[in-house]
Amino acid sequence: MRLLVIEDDRDAADYLVKAFREVGHIADAAHDGEDGLAMALEGQYDVLVVDRMLPKRDGLSLIGTLRAKGIETPALILSALGQVDDRVKGLRAGGDDYLPKPYSFSELLARVEVLARRRGGRNEETMLHVGDLELDRLSHQVRRGAEEISLQPREFRLLEYLMKHAGQVVTRTMLLENVWDYHFDPQTNVIDVHISRLRSKIDKGFSQPLLHTVRGAGYMIRDGAR
């Protein structure tokens, strides 16, 4: 995956570029809005990581310009402003995700990978499969092997989100945002309990667990046999 990090704080940009390279991605950095725009216009990137406040041209206008020129490279906005209305502004300007600073790299990485994959168009499938687990998005039926699994509506959405991003790390905040539509941090980690409940429904009694905990990052559903 090719990434462009547009961030005026050189330390932060270097850190991100290095970290992305360590996990096997190709990453470039731009340090102001104009450079970033020029580089993004070449269209060689899979995901843009854009700081909201940049010299010469701010992040939102950069993304707006790209979109106006028909370039749909997914963009994640990094911002020190973390309020809900700022997030809405960012997404309205054409950003695809919004992460308030300070962030953890694993959170950023998980989100960037989801964005890159989104281009693949997996979203439209009506049947999701992971190993022998099968989820029908139309009839809301879930089965594992021959066994039908009955889920609460929220458990269904949780599983659906995990399966949509099968093989990718999904963080707790991402789940809270996408499954519950909450943008705040519950003091206690309620998501873990929901996951363990879901796990007991889909993995209990099967020799091959599908729902995995990724330490320090989040969760991932994948076919363990692979």
Partner: protein, 484 residues
């Protein structure tokens, strides 16, 4: 600027001048109209009398000829009064009458004329000036001419009396108006000066100062009252800001110090990679909780400053109760607590959905946290938390009732403050900001957070006005209006 110059520059004084001009013009118009009409009325009376007399005299002439006319005119002319008579031959030779010194040519033109004259019995000279008269010349058959007229002195005198009265009254209007205007202006100016003076003190930094209110309920009082309310709000915000920075200094510095100490210790004592790793992981964990505290503080500050009023919309509080209940139910169950949601009727309310959700989540989170020790049913019944959404008059209530240890009544107001954690809860994780955030959110919506006794346990109640904070403001304005 001199004191007088300042006085003349005030709005009140300028208004006084405008009104003064308007009133003076009005008085002038009224009296002028009165004077002219009086004059016209008198003139009409004169012409009527003169016409009647001429008709009478020409009747005498028709019956008794010139001789009789001369006798009658002669008799009338001798009477004192303002009537004037002359009878002349066609050549202009006077036969009878009491007038002389007429303007030449008057007698040649039949009809109405205004002229000067002198009575025959008055000698010529400065002590007997010429008078003004309105006369009619009438051509009698046979070439004789008859002049009948009336002195106009009466009319002119009346006219001048009225005009004089007009001038005086205008002068009085101006003098009284100016004096009144100056008086009012000075009074207003004094009060405005007092307000300005107070404002200066406030600007100099004494936010505790308030504008003087005279108690008359006039517009200046209302202005002062509103400014005072504004100052109250500013002072509260400033206090909040100071508190926040004090608390940040205090409560963020403690974990920061811990963070620093831990890193230093790792540098000094760690030998293996595993030890370094553990130290760094602990550091990251510590910084994450710092960030969470910081976010909560920002959220509270934002709720308290009223910024979040911009994204308010209509939503159903019952739905929020269900959502939050659903989010926490597994966590409660894991701890052996029954979490129930009782919110069957819709409770529509206008507000910030995200913030209200978070406030309720904090209350539920607290209830679960403090319902411990878990797995120990009280009196054989498992600990229970009930989340309710209720409609009550023009408010909706979101309540969280638990059967935990509760909060002693004496501590209930204190725990809502930032970072306050009771001694008993020091061991529990958390920033101590949950209740303050819930309270700030309630206040942002024009509502309140109250803590009540649930016998046993704690019942936290978020009460929100159905129409959002705007309605509350209108309400306050209406109440104020009705008091006046």
């Amino acid at each position: 600027m001199t004191a007088l110059g300042k006085l003349f520059r005030t709005t009140t004084f300028k208004l006084t001048l405008v009104y003064l001009t308007v009133f003076a013009l009005f008085a002038a118009f009224l009296l002028g109209y009165f004077a002219l009409n009086t004059r016209r009325l008198i003139t009409e009376q004169i012409t009527d009398t003169v016409n009647a007399e001429i008709t009478g005299l020409s009747e005498q002439y028709r019956q008794g000829g010139i001789r009789r006319l001369v006798v009658v005119v002669d008799a009338r002319a001798r009477r004192p009064g303002s009537s004037l008579y002359i009878v002349t031959t066609f050549a202009g030779e006077a036969l009878a009458g009491n007038v002389t010194a007429l303007e030449p040519g008057i007698l040649d033109n039949p009809g109405w004329t205004e002229t000067v004259y002198r009575r025959l019995d008055e000698a010529e000279g400065p002590e007997h000036p010429e008078h003004q008269a309105l006369v009619r010349v009438f051509q009698l058959p046979g070439g004789f001419r008859l002049l009948v007229g009336r002195d106009l002195d009466e009319r002119e005198r009346l006219y001048h009396i009225i005009l004089g009265a007009g001038r005086w009254s205008i002068a009085i209007v101006i003098v009284l108006g100016l004096a009144g205007g100056l008086f009012v202006t000075r009074r207003v100016l004094r009060r405005v000066d007092a307000m300005t003076e107070t404002t200066r003190t406030i600007m100099a930094g004494d936010l505790g100062e308030r504008l003087p209110v005279a108690g008359t309920g006039d517009e200046l009082d209302r202005l002062a009252e509103n400014l005072n309310i504004m100052l109250e709000r500013i002072e509260a915000l400033m206090r909040g800001l100071k508190e926040v920075s004090d608390n940040i200094a205090h409560d963020l510095k403690t974990p920061l110090t811990r963070l620093r100490n831990r890193s230093e210790q790792a540098l000094r004592t760690a030998n293996s990679q595993a030890e370094y790793r553990a130290a760094i992981e602990a550091t990251i964990e510590e910084s994450d909780s710092l960030i969470a505290t910081f976010n909560a503080l920002l959220m509270i500050a934002r709720a308290e400053s009223g910024q979040a009023r911009d994204d308010m919309s209509e939503f159903d509080a019952a739905e929020i109760a269900h959502d939050v209940g659903e989010l926490y139910e597994p966590l409660a169950e894991e701890k052996g607590i029954t979490l129930k949601v009782e919110a069957d009727t819709a409770a529509p309310v206008k507000g910030n959905r995200e913030l209200v959700s978070q406030a309720l989540a904090n209350l539920v989170d607290n209830a679960i946290k403090y319902a411990e020790p878990h797995d120990k049913p009280v009196n054989g019944v498992a600990p229970e938390i009930v989340v309710r959404a209720l409609n009550e008059g023009d408010r909706i209530l979101l309540t969280v009732a638990d059967s935990g240890p509760g909060i002693p009544e004496s501590d209930r107001t204190r725990v809502v403050e930032r970072f306050v954690r009771l001694e008993q809860s020091r061991s529990k994780p958390g920033s101590g900001l949950g209740l303050s955030l819930a309270s700030a959110v309630a206040r942002l919506h024009g509502g309140e957070l109250t803590l009540e006794d649930n016998h046993p346990g704690l019942k936290s109640v978020i009460a929100l006005p159905r129409g959002g904070p705007v309605q509350m403001r209108d309400e306050a304005a209406r109440q104020k209006e009705s008091r006046r």
